[in-house]
């Protein structure tokens, strides 16, 4: 019984971390169709922002939940202004340019902080479930992931800003004709996506630690999740994360974490062979 509870929690954790690493990408890639290969480095920068702020005496919660998103959001806006903006509509060029950007960030962070793991202790203690002990911080991560999904859904569906963003992505010319400034909407949306990524990087930092090349571990999983999710970014990313999180945690439980990751990839390739337009290309069509 305890084992079932712990395994269930492990699966929930797997899903939550997939959601965390992919929500920002769901906005930047899923909605804006900008292939941001520097996504992993945005997560890495969020982690560094949180750790550095904490080590300079900022409260750990503030540095994870406030400093990290603001720093990465600003970096995102600058990157959008300088690089991404020139390349809208040129997908392959965007992909290459953001790949260059990712190398640049890796190099920059390595130069400044050195090629070593930095970390902060996870706050909150642990709680005992039968013979097992469970970290409360991991439960907090599940909460953050759920809150992010709900918040994105609420903003896109319920607010004027969300409506403008969706309209601009759907048809920028029509939106411009109705008095919206598409460049500004693009910049804001990209900034929000980057900020969410920074937040995710910040809250993940205590459990995974950060080093300059940590982004590589995230970027492929994030893309797989968003792509397999399909056109409906919120529902798609959530269901894909649910599916892949379950698969990889179960395989991990039965074998090793590395084989668990391979299982995730195999599941994704098989899924895309059957549903080339992702999960929401077939089911939950028309949802958000």
């Amino acid at each position: 019984m305890d084992l079932v509870a712990v395994l269930g929690l492990e699966i929930l954790n797997g899903i939550a971390s997939l959601v965390l690493i992919s929500v920002g990408l769901a906005i930047i890639f899923g909605m804006m169709r900008v292939i941001n290969l520097a996504h992993g480095e945005f997560l890495m920068l969020g982690g560094y922002a949180a750790i550095i702020a904490t080590s300079h005496g900022v409260n750990i919660w503030i540095s994870m939940l406030v400093v990290a998103p603001i720093v990465v959001g600003l970096i995102g806006i600058v990157a959008e202004r300088l690089i991404i903006r020139v390349l809208y509509g040129r997908m392959i060029d965007t992909l290459l340019a953001t790949w260059g950007l990712s190398l640049f960030f890796i190099g920059l962070v390595t130069t400044i902080f050195g090629n070593s793991v930095a970390g902060i202790g996870a706050p909150l203690g642990s709680v005992a479930v039968g013979r097992y002990s469970i970290s409360l911080y991991r439960l907090f991560l599940v909460g953050v992931a759920a809150a992010m999904v709900v918040a994105i859904y609420a903003v896109l569906r319920g607010t004027r800003a969300g409506l403008l963003a969706r309209a601009t992505m759907e048809n920028p010319n029509m939106a411009a004709a109705l008095g919206v400034s598409p460049p500004r909407v693009y910049a804001t949306t990209f900034g929000v996506g980057a900020a969410l990524t920074g937040l995710a990087g910040g809250v993940l930092a205590p459990i995974s630690g950060v080093l300059p090349t940590v982004g590589a571990a995230y970027v492929a999983k994030a893309f797989i999740t968003v792509i397999s999710g399909g056109t409906a970014i919120v529902a798609g990313t959530a269901t894909a994360a649910g599916l892949f999180g379950t698969v990889s945690q179960l395989v991990t439980y039965l074998t090793t974490p590395v084989i668990g990751e391979a299982g995730l990839l195999v599941a994704a390739i098989l899924l895309l062979r059957v549903l080339p337009h992702g999960i929401t290309g077939r089911i939950f069509r028309g949802s958000l």
């Binding site: 292939i35 690089i83 020139v86 390349l87 997908m91 392959i92 060029d93 992909l95 290459l96 340019a97 790949w99 260059g100 950007l101 990712s102 190398l103 640049f104 960030f105 890796i106 190099g107 920059l108 390595t110 130069t111 090349t213 590589a216 571990a217 970027v219 492929a220 999983k221 893309f223 797989i224 792509i227 090793t256 590395v258 084989i259 990751e261 391979a262 990839l265 994704a268 390739i269 098989l270 895309l272 062979r273 080339p276």
Partner: protein, 331 residues
């Protein structure tokens, strides 16, 4: 064959024959690895530049070739079969992966992401193979530490007779020449023209009755095999393979070579590879700036400012110059 190709080929032969006479052993070894990398650059040059398939997985095939060579050579104690398998295994893997991608009709972007994740997974998998449990025959995979002191190339049929550095250089240059010439022949053939046609307009080719999926799968498989060959040469060069062959920085290097040299040419990736290899070696010996940092900036600069790469841009400049000269009134 156009004059450019013949000139390049003659130049390569000249370098192959002349170099060992003028440089010392260290430089010769350096040039051997540069030439092996040129073969790797060609593999992406043909898959991406002519097939239009942006593959981030070229380093996966490269690493797979290297590891296949290593495992076979350790088990058999000689290199001929190992080289053969080192080409065939990555090609088969490329065919399998390509089947899922092309027959699933995934678009460019998804291809990039899937190949990227395959590379990462390989990197993680091979990294985790430390310990005695992970052995194939008598070959221990050794995880992160890689497999040292591999048997190097021998004369086929005579395991005791190993190639010395000069002979290895000749062999690698000959292989580079064969791959370069062979790819040009392939691209000049009917199949090659269909490959380029598919890159230009997939729907039109389909309507003309070509099986686009099969064409893409074929060129992808060929590219995988060539990358595997480069992996064998690399494994032989250092008598060593390690998981870094699968790494992301390896992949990004291959892409930078092709971008810098130029898409849609075969000499471009070779030139890009030589320039960037030279630069990487030069950067590696100084501590001023991080190599990733500089590569990232070069990458961004080329995508934003010279998107065609060096060789095609030179071609455009030359055409402009010729036009300017011919429009001048004859004196």
């Amino acid at each position: 064959m156009s004059p450019g190709i013949v000139v390049t080929a003659i130049l390569m032969i000249g370098v192959a024959v002349g170099t060992p006479l003028v440089v010392d052993q260290f430089e010769l070894l350096q040039l051997t690895v540069f030439a092996s990398m040129c073969i790797l650059a060609l593999s992406l040059g043909v898959v991406w530049g002519y097939g239009g398939i942006l593959c981030f997985g070229q380093s996966a095939f490269f690493g797979l070739g290297g590891y296949t060579y290593a495992v076979t050579a350790v088990n058999r104690g000689e290199s001929t079969l190992a080289i053969g398998l080192g080409i065939v295994v990555p090609a088969l893997f490329a065919a399998l992966l390509g089947y899922f991608m092309f027959y699933g009709r995934l678009s460019d972007v998804y291809l990039g992401v899937i190949t990227l994740s395959v590379t990462l997974i390989f990197f993680n998998l091979v990294n985790s193979t430390a310990g005695d449990a992970y052995r194939i025959g008598s070959a221990r995979l050794n995880g992160f530490n890689g497999m040292p002191s591999l048997p190097t190339f021998n004369v086929p049929g005579d395991p005791g007779r190993l190639l010395d550095p000069t002979e290895t250089f000749y062999l690698v240059m000959a292989l580079l020449l064969i791959v370069y010439g062979g790819l040009h022949l392939l691209l000049a053939s009917h199949f090659g023209r269909v490959v380029v046609a598919v890159r230009e307009n997939e729907t039109r080719c389909e309507l003309l009755g070509y099986d686009v999926r099969q064409v893409k799968l074929s060129i992808f498989t060929i590219g995988g095999g060539i990358a595997g060959l480069a992996g064998c040469l690399f494994a032989n060069w250092g008598a060593f393979v390690s998981p870094t062959m699968f790494s992301l920085s390896m992949t990004s290097q291959i892409i930078i070579w092709v971008i810098v040299g130029g898409l849609g040419t075969l000499v471009g990736p070779i030139i890009g590879c030589l320039i960037m290899q030279y630069l990487a070696t030069a950067l590696g010996t100084q501590q001023l700036a991080n190599t990733n940092l500089i590569f990232g900036v070069i990458f961004l600069a080329f995508v934003l400012l010279v998107p065609r790469g060096i060789v095609p841009s030179l071609g455009v400049l030359r055409a402009r110059w010729l036009r300017a000269r011919s429009s001048r009134p004859a004196a």
